[in-house]
C-alpha cells in the first residue's frame, strides 16, 4: 500500500524528525563550529599577526578550516541512525530513498551552514579580510556548503558501517572537494582586489546544483552496500 502522503509532506516530516534528533544533542552541532573558530585563531599565532599577511591568506584559511570542521560533523548524518537501525527503516520506507536522503542532506546543511554563515563575519574580522570581500566570502560559503553536505553524505554513507571511519572519510572526501576550495578562494580573492567575483561564484553554484542533484543517487547506492 502506497502511503497517502505526498512526497513533499514526507520530506518535511523527515526534516522535522532530523531537526528534533539533532536538537537533543546540541553539543554535536556546536563542537565543529567551535573547532572552526579555534583553528582560525591558530593561524595568526602560527604565521604572525601581520595584517597584510593575514588578509592575503584569509580566504584560504577560512575555507580550509570550514572543510575540516565539516568533516568533523559529517558522521552525524548517518552514524546514529545506522547503529540504532533507523537507517534500515529509512531504506524500507514506501518512498524513493533519494527523497529521504535529500531531506537529511538539507537538514544537515541548515544545521551546520547557518551557524557558519552567522560566524563568517567574525572570522573575516579576525583575519583582517578586506571589507570589499566580506559579501563574497559570505556568498561563497552560502553557495559552497551544500556541496559539503551532499558530497559528504556520500562519503559517510560509504564508511558508516566501519568503526574507524574518521581518517578514511577525509582521505575519500578532501580530493573530491578540491574544486570547491579553488573556486571559493578564487572568488574571495578577486573580490578582495576589487574585481567582480561573478565567474567563480557561478561555477560554485553549478557545482552545488550538480552535487545536490546527483548525490542522493550515489548515497542510496552506498547505503545499500553499507547496510546490506
Amino acid at each position: 500500500m502506497a502511503s497517502e502522503l505526498s512526497v513533499g509532506s514526507q520530506v518535511r516530516a523527515l526534516m522535522r524528525r532530523e531537526f528534533r534528533v539533532a536538537m537533543r544533542q546540541r553539543s554535536d552541532l556546536m563542537n565543529p563550529i567551535l573547532f572552526l573558530l579555534v583553528v582560525v585563531t591558530l593561524f595568526p599565532l602560527g604565521v604572525g599577526p601581520e595584517p597584510a599577511t593575514l588578509a592575503r591568506i584569509a580566504p584560504g584559511v577560512i575555507w580550509v578550516s570550514a572543510l575540516l570542521s565539516a568533516l568533523l560533523g559529517l558522521e552525524r548524518l548517518f552514524r546514529d541512525d545506522f547503529s540504532d537501525g533507523a537507517l534500515e527503516q529509512m531504506l524500507l520506507m514506501p518512498m524513493a530513498v533519494e527523497w529521504a536522503v535529500l531531506a537529511k542532506i538539507i537538514m544537515h546543511w541548515l544545521l551546520t551552514a547557518v551557524p557558519l554563515l552567522i560566524l563568517a563575519p567574525l572570522l573575516a574580522l579576525l583575519l583582517n579580510l578586506p571589507k570589499e570581500a566580506w559579501g563574497t566570502l559570505w556568498l561563497s560559503l552560502l553557495l559552497g556548503t551544500p556541496v559539503l553536505s551532499s558530497v559528504g553524505a556520500i562519503g559517510v554513507a560509504l564508511t558508516v558501517s566501519l568503526n574507524k571511519g574518521g581518517a578514511l572519510l577525509s582521505l575519500l572526501l578532501l580530493p573530491l572537494l578540491i574544486p570547491l576550495l579553488i573556486f571559493a578562494t578564487a572568488a574571495v580573492e578577486t573580490a578582495a582586489t576589487g574585481l567582480s567575483p561573478a565567474g567563480p561564484l557561478a561555477l560554485m553554484a553549478a557545482i552545488t546544483v550538480l552535487a545536490l542533484v546527483l548525490s542522493p543517487y550515489a548515497v542510496h547506492a552506498a547505503l545499500r552496500v553499507s547496510v546490506n
Partner: protein, 251 residues
C-alpha cells in the same frame, strides 16, 4: 554483444581468457617497451633547447597518459560491478587500482625530476602536476576504502561506487586546477597530431614516444591481467574448478 560477454561473469571463464591473453600482452609489451626506451633514451636526437634532459619525456608522458587511462578502465569495471553485480568486475577494480596508482606515482616522480633542471624546482604547483597528484589521492582513496572493510565483497562494492564518483569529478577537478594556474606546457602530442603541416615535435622524437606509450599500455595491462587472475584464484580456491586446475598446473 551480451551473449558474447555474459560468460565472463563466471570467474572460471575469465581466468581461462586471461590465461590465453597474458602472453599476447606480456611478450610484445616487454619487447615494445624495451625498443621504445632504448630508441628514446639513446637514439632520438637531443632537444635543441632542453638538451639531453628532455629524454625523461619517454617515461613521463606514457605513465601520465595511462594513469588517467587506467582510471577510466577502473571506472568501467566499477560501473559493471555496480550495475550488473558482476564479481569478476569487482575484482578487476582491485586489480587495476594499484597498477594505476603506481603509474601515477611514476609520472609524478619523473615530473619532479624533469622539473628540477627545466624549471629549477622539484615541485611546482602547476595545473597538470596538481591534477595528477589529486588523481593519485583518488586511487589511494579507492584502495584504502577497499582495505577498510573486513568483508571483501562489501569493500569492493564500496570502492566501486567511490571510483564512479571520482570519474564524475575528474573533469571538474581537471578544469578547476587548470583555471587555477599553469606553468606546464600544453600537451605536445595533441599539438603534434592535430597539426600535421607544422608539427610541434620532430617525428624522430614523436615515434619513440608513441612506441613507449604502446609499451606502457601492454606491460601495465599484462600486470592487471596477472593481478586479476591471482585475485580470482585467491577467491575461488575452494571451488572444484580452481582445485583441479591448480593440481594440474602444479604437477
Amino acid at each position: 554483444m551480451w551473449r558474447w560477454l555474459h560468460p565472463y561473469a563466471k570467474p572460471e571463464a575469465t581466468y581461462r581468457l586471461n590465461k590465453k591473453l597474458l602472453p599476447w600482452f606480456a611478450i610484445p609489451g616487454v619487447v615494445i617497451l624495451t625498443i621504445g626506451m632504448i630508441w628514446g633514451l639513446a637514439f632520438a636526437p637531443p632537444d635543441y633547447q632542453q638538451g639531453e634532459s628532455y629524454r625523461i619525456i619517454f617515461v613521463h608522458v606514457p605513465s601520465a597518459f595511462w594513469a588517467m587511462g587506467f582510471y577510466m578502465g577502473m571506472a568501467i569495471a566499477a560501473l559493471s560491478a555496480v550495475v550488473w553485480q558482476i564479481r569478476t568486475a569487482e575484482w578487476a577494480i582491485l586489480a587495476i587500482a594499484p597498477v594505476g596508482a603506481v603509474l601515477t606515482l611514476i609520472s609524478l616522480f619523473t615530473g619532479a625530476v624533469w622539473g628540477k633542471p627545466m624549471w629549477g624546482t622539484w615541485w611546482e604547483w602547476d595545473a597538470r602536476l596538481t591534477a595528477q597528484l589529486i588523481l593519485f589521492f583518488l586511487y589511494l582513496g579507492v584502495m584504502a576504502l577497499y582495505a577498510a572493510f573486513e568483508d571483501e565483497r562489501t569493500g569492493a562494492k564500496a570502492a566501486g561506487i567511490l571510483a564512479l564518483i571520482g570519474v564524475i569529478n575528474i573533469p571538474i577537478i581537471h578544469y578547476s586546477v587548470y583555471w587555477w594556474n599553469t606553468l606546464h606546457q600544453q600537451s605536445t602530442i595533441t599539438q603534434a597530431i592535430t597539426r600535421f603541416e607544422k608539427p610541434s615535435m620532430a617525428p624522430e622524437m614523436l615515434w619513440p614516444l608513441l612506441v613507449s606509450i604502446l609499451g606502457f599500455l601492454l606491460v601495465s595491462s599484462a600486470l592487471v591481467i596477472l593481478r586479476l587472475n591471482n585475485e580470482i584464484l585467491k577467491r575461488e580456491v575452494r571451488r572444484p574448478w580452481a582445485q583441479t586446475l591448480l593440481l594440474k598446473e602444479n604437477r
